[in-house]
Amino acid sequence: MNAIETHALTKYYGKARGVLDLNLTVESGAFFGFIGPNGAGKSTTIRCLLGLIHPSSGGAMVLGQPVGRELPSILRDVGYLPAEAQFYSGMQVRDLLRYAAELRRVDCREEAAKLCDRLQLDVSRKIAELSLGNRKKAAIVCALQHNPRLCILDEPTSGLDPLIQREFFALLEERNRAGATIFLSSHVLSEIQRHCTHAAIIREGRLIACDRVEALAQTGARRVTLHGVTAPPPLPDIRDLSRTSDGISFLYSGDVNALICQLAALRLTDLTISEPDLEEIFLHYYQEGGEAK
């Protein structure tokens, strides 16, 4: 069974584009990263999955059920971490966690206590007094305390310090090993590369790639850095050209032999050819449209 499936999911806000014709599949048990810059449609997709907004056309299935009439039975098994966690400011963290559990009609005090302990969250604090990071921690506990089968996390690490980030990902990996599906959106690529097994890239409302993270990184492109020259060899398939103090650097996705032949004719002081990291792949996808700089 797939944890998430969208079929030609399209959402317009009036005339403004949200997402267009999105077909996304997330298998059960995946640790899935959803990458895209601000405004690409990540949050719109997530909001459609959670039934917060209604698609203009197309639809979505979550945990095998269509998002619609039976939404509450889906949400019972979903934990959601919003990008900007906001809560009832007059409450204490403890009251908030209890309220979240009561809304789910489950007793998760034990799990909540464990999570608060690991994330170093003081439950006696008032929500209004919490820093951004601590509010995020409260939101994480709300999202995980009922042991959901699917965790949907919208830019989960913003505001968390590196130590807590590490603890948070350790938590997610434990949950994932125990069978939960993790779906997280981010624009921090290193995060996705380090933790996710699968990833999808969204750009201007459209899905432009969806695969295993390793497969996405293996597009055949190479990062070529030449020292001692100022102009790239006359080859097609050169992108992302940049000049350094004593040379040039570019992404090459054409025939390797053609590159070698051209390089042989140049007088170089040094040379590296390496596999690009996900960040470069990401830029590569983004530049295909020609809009990105």
Partner: protein
């Protein structure tokens, strides 16, 4: 009833403040009555000869020398306006505050039907209005006994019933509006309540504007009419019932369909 409980908890302070303020003013008014009663014969004639001002507040038909006449004007205005403001403010914030404070994203991603959220929030608004009115009524009764007057049960209860209906009607309309708002609409709520109040005053002064009484809930909650006729004008209250149903229906219809941004 988790959402209801939460609403009641969050609204407790506001409920206490409004109940306290309205109750305090009414108690003070009643306690002042014996002192004023002595001068009432002159005062009554003054009050009943101020032309349209007299008409505007129904003082031409109420006898200030009697407790119920005095109560109808003084306490009627306090509870009529104060209660209406409370009802309007509470109702208009009820649904919209979740989006204003971005807590809707939290609430609606839990396994609760949106219709259940609307129902429980509506019940919380109604509960708070009932509690306020009950507390104010009790304070009134105790104060009337304190000054040694007989309690004019029937007109007094009818008056309070009329104000309760008025508040429920305003609340229902504001609740409906609340479903459409993404930000707080406190100004809108206060404005609506105040407009209804002034529409009634206009209707009282100008004969040809009397039809306004069928639109504003202050029409059927007019103390002078209730005390003199001993009943609430059902025909005048009927459109109000329509507005009430419309407001609640709009809230359910829209909130279960709207996009939460």
């Amino acid at each position: 009833m988790t959402v209801w409980k939460q609403e009641m908890r969050l609204g407790l302070l506001s409920l206490l403040i409004w109940t306290g303020s309205i109750g305090f003013l009414i108690v003070i008014c009643i306690l002042l009555f014996p002192e004023m009663q002595g001068q009432m014969n002159q005062v009554s004639s003054v009050f009943s000869s101020m032309g349209s001002f007299t008409q505007a507040f129904g003082m031409d038909r109420l006898n200030f020398g009697e407790l119920i006449g005095f109560y109808g004007v003084e306490c009627g205005n306090i509870l009529g306006l104060g209660g209406a403001f409370f009802a309007a403010l509470t109702a208009i914030a009820s649904l919209s505050k979740e989006e204003r404070d971005h807590t809707a994203e939290f609430l609606l991603t839990h396994p609760v039907r949106r219709s259940a959220v609307v129902l429980q929030k509506l019940l919380a608004v109604v509960s708070q209005i009932l509690l306020l009115n009950l507390a104010v009524l009790l304070l009134s009764l105790v104060s009337i006994r304190l000054i040694g007057e007989e309690i004019p049960w029937k007109p007094l209860l009818l008056l309070h019933l009329a104000y309760l209906l008025l508040q429920l009607e305003l609340a229902a309309v504001c609740f409906g509006v609340s479903a459409f708002l993404r930000r707080g609409g406190l100004g809108l709520g206060i404005g609506l309540a105040a407009m209804c109040y002034f529409l009634n005053i206009v209707a009282n002064i100008a004969g040809q504007a009397e039809w306004l009484k069928y639109i504003t809930p202050y029409g059927y909650a007019e103390a002078a009419d209730i005390v003199s006729s001993g009943s609430i004008d059902f025909l005048m209250a009927l459109p109000g019932l329509g507005f009430t149903i419309l407001g609640i229906a709009a809230a359910f219809f829209w909130y279960t369909r709207k996009d939460i941004l």
